[in-house]
Amino acid sequence: MKRKTVAFFDFTCCEGCQLQVANFGEELLDILAAIDVVMFREVMSEKSDEYDVAIIEGSITTPHDVERIKEIRETATTVIALGSCASIGGINGMKNSFKLEDVQSYVYGEDGKNYFETIPTMAVHQVVDVDYFVHGCPIYPPEFVKILKYALQGLPYTVKDEAVCVECKLNENECMYEKGLTCLGPITKAGCNSWCINYGNICYGCRGMVKETTKNASIDVIKKYDIPMDWIMGKFDMYNKATESEEKK
């Protein structure tokens, strides 16, 4: 199999997901043997305008971003959204809870705001077609490798539409609800091997929600455990605001 050329691009994000890839260690060598990286700002200075696979990190938040992502889509045969900012809008989606003008003056000040155009935060697939989604904030390295393998073989990959709880139980963690804490595991898409809970933290829902979000049932659970509603809505909004009203990928 001829090695595919791969380029990394970043939009609005913290570049933490690319850093995850750069930090892979030994596994990175295996990956580099399978692909030909032509652009990856965090690890090399070379650039290229030609590539087979475009790995996109970050959300689309300016008119310029829209133009740029469209061009990338035209060049690449395969587009992979890397990390929650790209795959579901992620943290940047919080912007969509406010009026755009307010956000602009808050960030750039009354004088500066007119120099920087802005639009509501969008995930990559809300602008162009995306072939593969690597969810997570940050991405879970084993899942990235898995998806890359699917992409290189041209096979379809769908994130299994089941809850983080499934993986959490298989790892035999004590449930956070048992400890009197609350956890977004039951409504969050699996695939991270219940990463946070394995290390003693709750799930914050960084991978986006399962397709069939069971709103009534969730509210029921929240009531049963005396969890304040705005607390949980804050947690929902933290990652899911940009894609809350759409059919989930």
């Binding site: 199999m1 089941e162 004590e174």
Partner: protein, 344 residues
């Protein structure tokens, strides 16, 4: 072979240490604030004798959560079945879980039998531990008649004041006790204590739901249209916890994991849950059980209706794990009670 032995509690530390020296010893240990899990132990202080059913049942030793079953090299057209087993002593298995293992044995030895399971099972030695009282309010082992052991173990221990009485049920169990060289045949006093405790148990354990066991099958058979499934539909989050923790759920998926050289790879069997939305989805996107209520109904039918037809046995052991783990508080006892009410 059938005989009773005694072990005084003073000697329990020594007993555990010796067991651990013979082969890998697995026992209930504390996990988190209120939960327990089966895990490897080397000393008595690690073992929780007084425990409520573990997060996952002992089935994880018979069919691990992730189990490589085939390794392959595509170019060489080489395919190899991976048959792995490990000698394990499983200590402290409650009687409800003994019943769970018996159910899985039935399923996996049914034709075509599952060699991966059977090979593991052959090398697992089971030491049961009888419950003298209820673990908690979720249990329905009295109704399901699993509060006492109905076979399925090599050795069964019963705690009595200052000692344990050990029932030897198999040659393997007898040999293990021989190797320990520290337990004596039970005397008349110990046998009297055992009988007294068993008599008391008859009063402690009563059917937890007002129904005869044989009536459960017809109850479920006629419950397809019951309203309870609609209310469960509203409550359930489809998280899959109830099936993953169930000692008799055995559904799995097989995933192909290829290396980055795109030649070598393996096939891994992973537990699957009928509560997940894609479980009954087929190509074209059609889903046989798109509704959460329907999926829960299916889970119950797989405990109280279908296995009875196939194996003449209920596949609910009464361990209470499904109710204990459900954050939506869907409760097996309440579901059955509601069905009984609806039928009236």
């Amino acid at each position: 072979m059938e005989q009773y032995l005694i072990l005084f509690k003073n000697d329990f530390d020594d007993f555990v240490e010796r067991l651990a020296k013979i082969q890998k010893l697995v026992a209930p240990v504390k996990r988190g604030s209120k939960s327990f899990a089966f895990d490897e132990v080397t000393a008595a202080e690690d073992v929780s004798l007084n425990y409520i059913p573990t997060i996952l049942p002992p089935k994880k030793y018979f069919m691990p959560q992730n189990e490589t079953i085939v390794e392959y090299e595509k170019k060489q057209n080489k395919w190899e079945a991976i048959l792995y087993s490990e000698a394990i002593t499983l200590f402290g298995v409650h009687t409800c879980d003994l019943a769970g293992i018996q159910c899985l044995n039935l399923v996996f030895s049914d034709r075509p039998n599952d060699v991966h399971y059977i090979i593991r099972k052959k090398r697992i030695l089971i030491i049961g531990l009888e419950c003298n009282d209820y673990c908690d309010e979720y249990a329905t082992c009295g109704l399901m008649d699993n509060h006492n052991a109905n076979g399925g173990y090599d050795l069964l221990m019963t705690e009595l004041e200052d000692r344990f009485v050990i029932h030897v049920n198999t040659v393997d169990g007898e040999e293990l006790m021989g190797k320990l060289a520290m337990v004596k045949p039970a005397d008349a006093e110990s046998m009297t204590m055992l009988n007294k405790m068993r008599n008391k148990k008859r009063e402690v354990f009563q059917p937890e739901i007002d129904i005869e066991r044989k009536e459960l099958k017809p109850l479920f058979e006629e419950s397809f249209q019951a309203e309870v499934w609609d209310s469960i539909h509203e409550k359930c989050l489809s998280c899959g916890n109830c099936t993953n923790v169930c000692p008799t759920c055995y559904c799995y998926d097989v995933e192909d994991e290829i290396d980055l050289d795109f030649n070598k790879g393996k096939m891994v069997r992973k537990w699957d849950s009928c509560q997940s939305r894609p479980f009954a989805m087929i190509s074209g996107g059609e889903n046989f059980r798109p509704e959460r209520g329907g999926r829960q109904r299916h889970r119950y039918m797989r405990k109280f209706n279908y296995p009875f037809e196939k194996y003449n046995r209920y596949f609910c052991t009464g361990c209470g794990r499904c109710s204990r783990t459900c954050m939506a508080k869907i409760n097996l006892k309440e579901t059955i009670e509601t069905l009984i009410e609806e039928k009236k």
